[in-house]
Structures are given as structure tokens and as C-alpha cells.
């Protein structure tokens, strides 16, 4: 026997199926002609394959066509699934898309909430995010807020100054402004209208203007979207 390695059963088997790569084929041919061991192994494998090929095709016991009167409902009853396949498919895709978007939004909120806490330090109010208005964290700036007494209230999270200008159709509930537990005593400067959003005054946990609000809302969104994605995952046949 030469010092070459013998052919592996994988190679011998693949040779029978004409599945050797050209390189493998070259090595195979060179080795086989002088190696009785491999010739024997090959013959053994070939024998087995021949036997398998010789197995007769079993006779069909009956036809397996579905009854033409079968309604989707009948198939539904026969199988664990409950919705028409097509509608279910569309619904599922929609759910997944919505959940995916919600994941992204949730993450954005969480990040902005976290970053706000980083930037916050002692001083200003919430940092600007894509979803919240721009704040100037200037203390005691009451310019333009004099029109509305509430603007002087320490409500770093509430976006009450835009109410003055009322650029958007949001809650004109200036009277509902109330101080928040947040420690930073800043009055909102009159901010430019761009990005002014007027949510109703909410507790900090829900207020999008506050980092804490964004954080918790983001976490909630993330949780719901992950649940949505998990529930709509493709349950089709996992394969071993």
C-alpha cells in the first residue's frame, strides 16, 4: 500500500453518484488503480447501491387526491391551522412588518431616553430627538412665555411653549400644565416652531418629551414588538 491516504467513504460514495469534483476525481483515479483496499470498498458500496436500486416501487394502495368539494374550512378542520392560508399569510406578513417597525421605534426611544440622561447632567431639559421638539435648556428664559403664565412653571418635560404659538393641532390644554417631579427648574424657552409637538401633559413615565418617558415607552414598544415577532414567526416545519 502506498503512503497515500485511502479514499474516504464519502469520496467513494460520491464517485458512484458522479459527484466528485475534478480535483477529487483525479486523485481518485490515480489512487484507485493501485489500491486493492479501496477497490474492494468501492465494490461493497456499489453492491449496496445496486440493491437499493433494485427495491421495487411499492404499489399505491389508493389515490390520494383531495375531494374536489373540499372547502378550505374542511382542510382547516383536518389540520391544526385555523385561517385560510392566503389571508393568514398576508396577516402574518403585516404583523411582522409592524412588529419590526415597532422594534426600531422602540429602540430609538430607548436610546434617546438613555442619551438624554447622559446629556442631562444637572442642567437642562430633555435633549432633542427626532420625535420631540427642540428645547433650549436655558434657565429662567421666559421670553415669549409671558403670554402664558404657565410657561414659567417648572415643567421641563412639558412642551407648553409651543402652545403659545400653537403651530400644530395639539392639545390647547395649557391649563393642564403642571409641574413635574423633575428636579431641573427650567422654563421652556420659546422655541422655534419647527419640531414643536404638543402632546397632552402626561406623567413622566409616559411623556415622550421626557427621557424617562421615552425610555419606558421605548421599552414597552420593544417588548410588544418582540412578542409580535415571536408570535408570527414561521412555524413551518423545522427540519432536523
Amino acid at each position: 500500500m502506498t503512503q497515500q491516504e485511502h479514499l474516504t467513504t464519502g469520496q467513494l460514495s460520491a464517485f458512484l453518484d458522479k459527484q466528485l469534483s475534478p480535483q477529487e476525481q483525479a486523485f481518485f483515479d490515480a489512487h484507485l488503480q493501485s489500491c486493492q483496499h479501496c477497490q474492494f470498498e468501492l465494490a461493497e458500496l456499489r453492491r449496496t447501491v445496486v440493491l437499493l436500486h433494485a427495491m421495487p416501487q411499492p404499489q399505491l394502495p389508493r389515490s390520494f387526491t383531495l375531494p374536489t368539494t373540499v372547502q378550505p374550512a374542511q382542510i382547516r378542520a383536518a389540520l391544526p391551522q385555523t385561517a385560510p392560508a392566503r389571508q393568514r399569510h398576508v396577516l402574518r406578513s403585516t404583523m411582522r412588518a409592524v412588529s419590526s417597525i415597532a422594534v426600531v421605534i422602540g429602540l430609538i426611544f430607548i436610546l434617546s431616553g438613555l442619551l438624554a440622561n447622559v446629556h442631562l447632567g444637572v442642567g437642562g431639559g430633555a435633549t432633542s430627538t427626532s420625535s420631540s421638539p427642540v428645547f433650549n435648556s436655558s434657565n429662567g428664559n421666559t421670553t415669549g412665555s409671558s403670554q402664558v403664565p404657565q410657561a414659567n412653571v417648572n415643567t421641563p418635560g412639558a412642551i407648553e411653549t409651543p402652545l403659545i404659538h400653537n403651530p400644530q393641532t395639539s392639545t390647547p390644554t395649557a391649563s393642564k400644565l403642571s409641574p413635574t417631579p423633575k428636579a431641573t427648574p427650567t422654563a421652556r424657552a420659546t422655541v422655534k416652531n419647527g419640531g414643536a409637538v404638543e402632546p397632552p401633559v402626561l406623567p413622566p413615565a409616559l411623556d415622550l418629551g421626557q427621557p424617562a418617558g421615552r425610555l419606558s415607552l421605548g421599552a414597552l414598544l420593544l417588548l410588544l414588538s418582540i412578542i409580535g415577532l415571536v408570535l408570527t414567526r414561521r412555524r413551518y416545519r423545522r427540519f432536523h
Binding site: 474516504t8 467513504t9 464519502g10 467513494l12 460514495s13 460520491a14 453518484d17 459527484q19 474492494f40 465494490a43 461493497e44 458500496l45 456499489r46 453492491r47 449496496t48 447501491v49 445496486v50 440493491l51 437499493l52 436500486h53 433494485a54 427495491m55 421495487p56 416501487q57 411499492p58 399505491l60 394502495p61 389508493r62 389515490s63 390520494f64 387526491t65 383531495l66 375531494p67 374536489t68 373540499v70 378550505p72 382542510i75 383536518a78 389540520l79 391551522q81 385560510p84 392560508a85 392566503r86 399569510h89 413551518y236 416545519r237 427540519f239 432536523h240
Partner: protein, 212 residues
């Protein structure tokens, strides 16, 4: 498959995806032999194979919308079939497959008398024209059922159904390398099992094995 046949199939698939049962039944007629054969070779019981075949086609009809027409319908259908078969096997066989070393007498159902009667048949069988006796068929079937499921699927798809490695890779959702090794190991294991019953092998087959 001829080009027109493939186009016909694409049309049938499209119609089936819209819920056309009659179109789907054309596909059933085309593939029920293949599905039944796979199920039977996987599981060894005709009644169970029939049940699995029916389940396969029901599941396939329900899942038609999720079949992306680009890949082979046969591979997709046989994937369902082999999955169904494996699921059924796992439900009914909680114990691991016996290793070849641990074959006990109860796994060898053939008495010496039965074996000798086979030897005396005098069939000088040409490899190319091997006609298998019922007993030999049964032994091969038993040998298949001794294979681990992944090797069993690969060997059946390759040597019983004649699928290419590529199509088997699609059907089993694995790589060509994995397909190759599963087929090789399955064949080797089956061969070893058959050698335990070498008396049943046709004439000139036995000569080779006696060399061992």
C-alpha cells in the same frame, strides 16, 4: 422534465396557490407515488405510509401560498413528506436507534432453515438484473429503518427516489457536503447490516462478502 411539463406544473402550482383543488389534484397524481414510496421506505408500514401521504398532501395544499415557485416543487413536496415521516417516526420510536454492535437475536428474524431455502434457490443473479426475493426486500427495508433519520432520508431520496445531491440539499435544507456524508454513512451502515444477513444476498454478491 420536459420544458412543457415544467411549464404545465408551474401553471398547476399557481392555480393551486389560489385554492384550485382540481389543479392541486393534478399535482397529487403526479407525485403521490413518490411521496408514498418515501413514506413507506422511511417507516416500513403500508397503512402508516398511506396516512402520512394523505397528511403530506393536505399540509402541502394548505402551505401552497408559501411555496415560492422558483425552486423545485418536487423538492418542496418531498421535504414535507420526509418531515412528516420523521415526525411520525419520532412519535412512535422513543428509543435511540440500535447501534450495529448491539443487534440481538430478536433483530434477526430468519431461522437457519429459512435462510438455507433461500440459498438453494440457485438464482445466479447478475448485479444489473438483481431481482430481490421478498425476504431480501424485507431485510433491506429493516436495514433502512435501522438508519438514523437524517441518513435514512438522504439514502432514500438518493437511491430510492433518484434525486440529485443538489435536490436533496434543497429538500433537507442542508449543504452538499452534508448530503454526501449522510448518504455515504447511510450506505455503509446499511451494508454492514446486510452483511449480518449475508445468506440472503443473491449469488455472486455473497462471494464478495466471503472475502471479508
Amino acid at each position: 422534465m420536459a420544458e412543457t411539463a415544467r411549464e404545465d406544473e408551474q401553471l398547476l402550482v399557481a392555480r393551486s396557490q389560489r385554492g384550485d383543488v382540481e389543479a392541486f389534484n393534478q399535482l397529487v397524481l403526479r407525485y403521490q407515488q413518490a411521496v408514498y414510496t418515501v413514506a413507506l421506505r422511511m417507516l416500513g408500514d403500508r397503512d402508516i405510509a398511506a396516512d402520512v401521504t394523505q397528511e403530506t398532501f393536505l399540509a402541502a395544499f394548505r402551505a401552497m401560498p408559501s411555496f415560492r415557485g422558483g425552486s423545485s416543487f418536487r423538492a418542496w413536496l418531498l421535504r414535507i413528506a420526509s418531515n412528516q415521516s420523521c415526525d411520525h417516526w419520532r412519535r412512535t420510536h422513543r428509543h435511540p436507534v440500535d447501534s450495529l454492535d448491539s443487534l440481538t437475536d430478536e433483530d434477526e428474524p430468519y431461522s437457519a432453515d429459512a435462510m438455507s431455502s433461500l440459498i438453494d434457490t440457485g438464482q445466479d443473479v447478475n448485479p444489473e438484473e438483481a431481482l430481490l426475493t421478498q425476504e431480501l426486500q424485507q431485510v433491506i427495508q429493516l436495514g433502512l429503518e435501522k438508519l438514523p433519520l437524517d441518513q435514512r432520508v438522504a439514502v432514500i431520496l438518493c437511491d430510492i427516489q433518484g434525486l440529485s445531491y443538489e435536490e436533496i440539499a434543497v429538500t433537507t435544507q442542508t449543504t452538499l457536503g452534508t448530503v454526501r456524508s449522510r448518504i455515504a454513512r447511510g450506505r455503509v451502515r446499511l451494508r454492514a447490516y446486510l452483511l449480518q444477513h449475508r445468506e440472503l444476498l443473491p449469488g455472486n454478491f455473497r462471494l464478495l462478502s466471503d472475502r471479508e
